[in-house]
């Protein structure tokens, strides 16, 4: 039974991945008229005759779907004439910054959101808990664009505590510790924006499921055994409240990526979002296509990995289905 469920999900993800790859192969070819002309017609990039020949050669050579797949696997994703660099290099250079920003934001907001949610459920009905839930519901309604702009105006512009753009001080010669500090200094505002966007959801969800878990009899038993409250909360109850958070993460990851793209753009953080923004403003279609495909495949992979995490956190899921 356990294997059946994984295979069903694996099939869905594989099919979704194939659909994405095929769409990114097929869609540009649906543009009216000559493919290369259509792709660069409305773009800011002007091609020399030689570049145009090169680009035609690349697309003719990757004409059928099979060659396209091979090119994809060998990181031969084409050349960006807007940035004058191979697309694979541009993407792989931007990727670590995006992973640092998004990964950091998710780890922080999940960890603290979870702990805060568990504590709130434990203190249910108290004045501070009610105030917390109220604040978090309001914060849940503020989109990343707004928090990002507000933090930028206050902390970068008005107070000047943090830099307004970039991920490192350019051309600075720093000691290793200074370099880390410099990176953290640049990361602080975008990270805070994303944490403020993700934290309320995690908090409210954990609190909700934890309140339900706390009514179960095994919690009563644990208490009756005389276990210390911290142990009852975390070792016995909280583990059961973990599951909805993982599900929610999987369901919302595509939605959250939109927000991360915007936040990177607001702070000109050199990740995939800013790269995509620049590619869009230059209308460099091959680069847009590359970023879109690459990030969708990452999302699919993360979702697939979550599926295994899910079964690992709650063995019931794997056995029941």
């Amino acid at each position: 039974m356990r294997r059946g469920r994984y295979i069903k999900h694996l099939a869905a993800y594989l099919l979704a991945g194939l659909i994405m790859v095929y769409a990114s192969y097929r869609l540009p070819r649906l543009l009216p008229g000559d493919f290369v002309t259509a792709m660069y017609a409305s773009s800011q990039v002007t091609l020399t005759a030689e570049q145009e020949k090169e680009i035609r050669a690349y697309y003719r050579q990757s004409g059928d779907f099979a060659t396209y797949l091979v090119n994809l696997c060998t990181l031969n994703w084409g050349y960006s004439y807007a940035f004058l660099a191979p697309i694979s290099r541009l993407i792989l250079e931007a990727l670590p910054w995006s992973l640092l920003l998004m990964g950091g934001a998710h780890v922080i907001s999940m960890l603290f959101g979870f702990i805060a949610g568990v504590e709130a459920a434990w203190r249910r009905g108290s004045y501070s808990e009610k105030a917390g839930v109220g604040c978090m519901t309001v914060l849940e309604g503020v989109p990343e664009i707004s928090t990002g702009v507000a933090l930028l105006l206050v902390f970068a512009l008005y107070l000047g505590w943090f830099p307004a753009a970039g991920a490192e001080t350019a051309y600075a010669v720093l000691s290793p510790a200074g370099k880390v500090w410099d990176m953290a200094h640049h990361l602080a505002l975008p990270l805070a924006t994303l944490v403020m966007a993700y934290f309320p959801g995690n908090f409210l969800l954990t609190r909700g499921s934890m309140v339900m878990v706390l009514r179960e009899q095994f919690v009563e038993t644990a208490r009756a055994k005389g276990l210390p409250p911290v142990r009852v909360r975390y070792a016995h109850a909280a583990r059961n409240a973990l599951l909805p958070m993982v599900t929610r993460f999987g369901l919302r990851i595509a939605f959250m990526i939109t927000g991360a793209l915007v936040v990177e753009t607001i702070y000109s953080y050199p990740g995939l979002g800013t790269l995509l923004f620049n590619a869009i403003s230059m209308r460099d279609l091959p680069l847009i296509q590359g970023i879109v495909l690459f990030s969708s495949l990452i999302v699919l992979f993360v979702n697939l990995a979550l599926d295994y995490v899910y079964g690992w956190i709650d063995p019931r899921v794997a056995y029941a289905s």
């Binding site: 540009p28 990851i253 279609l285």
Partner: protein, 279 residues
């Protein structure tokens, strides 16, 4: 049952605040554009002039009245969100009910399709289509709706399966009611609360996506939208125009999303007994 619900809703502060905000915003959307004295595309004013009696929020870098831009932009943003919400809700309800009622192959096929769609990140498809074909906003809204129906359909299907086996449905069938009659007269109205929740969550997602995509420059740059206003104003954030040009769209967008969030939260609380106990 419905009277109890309205009474409970009226006592929920989130719902009251949400409805209050919604009516103010609707008022602005419906009456604002005809009432503002300037066309949002009229570029004949002195660029970057500060707020004055003629231009309450000043004039932007292109010589356009910011207040008119703001009201038209909010109308476009809301239009996109509500349209997507409606279409994805209709798709979700149709598919979910059909899957639950007919079962069998149809159920299998639609639910597997839903799984696949759920795995594909909608925003990526949207970005690709918007960048390549530059379609009209309503076409993009349709594409988004087609990507967003699976969660609604799954929720509707699960609840419809529960209702389908209740006694009164069996009774109706015993009395000779046809399948169409039961679906239309019993299942459809009984699942009503789920529609509201589905609509609110999807509309929220779509408004957020519209603002973000406009911010990233994926819509026609001359189309007014809150997202694109923020993106233009942000280029001048170091000038002294941030409070009359950058802040209004930011605040308005937050208010719009907050309104939909509050309504969704209070509806979910009301209709999900588990959550109601928890909150």
């Amino acid at each position: 049952m419905h009277r109890r619900m309205t009474r409970e809703l009226r006592r929920d502060p989130w719902f009251v605040v949400g409805i209050g905000l919604a009516s103010v915003l609707l008022f602005l959307v419906l009456l604002g554009p005809p009432l503002v004295p300037y066309e949002p595309h009229d570029m004949s004013f002195h660029p970057l002039s500060p707020p004055s009696a003629e231009h309450w929020l000043g004039v932007n870098d292109g010589g356009m009245d910011i207040l008119s831009e703001l009201l038209y932009g909010m109308r476009n943003t809301l239009e996109f969100g509500l349209f997507t919400g409606c279409v994805s809700l209709m798709l979700g309800v149709t598919v979910g009910l059909a899957a639950a009622w007919f079962g069998g192959m149809l159920d299998q096929v639609t639910m597997r399709l839903a799984d696949i769609l759920l795995a594909i990140p909608a925003v990526m498809i949207l970005i690709m289509i918007a960048a390549l074909f530059r379609p009209s906003p309503m076409t993009l809204a349709l594409v988004l709706a087609v990507m967003l129906w699976p969660t609604t359909a799954k929720g509707i299907r699960a609840q419809a399966l529960v209702v389908k086996h209740r006694l009164h449905i069996h009774a109706a069938r015993q009395m000779g009611a046809s399948g169409t009659y039961i679906v239309v007269r019993h299942l459809l109205p009984e699942l009503f609360p789920l529609y509201l929740i589905g609509f609110a969550t999807k509309a929220r997602m779509a408004i957020f996506m519209e603002a973000s995509m406009a911010f990233l420059g994926l819509f026609d740059p001359s189309r007014k939208s809150l997202g694109i206003m923020i993106s233009y104003a942000l280029k001048y954030y170091y000038l002294d125009v941030w409070w009359n040009w950058l802040l209004p769209p930011v605040i308005l967008l937050s208010l719009v999303i907050m309104t939909v969030t509050f309504l969704a939260v209070s509806l979910e609380k009301l209709f999900d007994p588990r959550l109601k106990e928890a909150l």
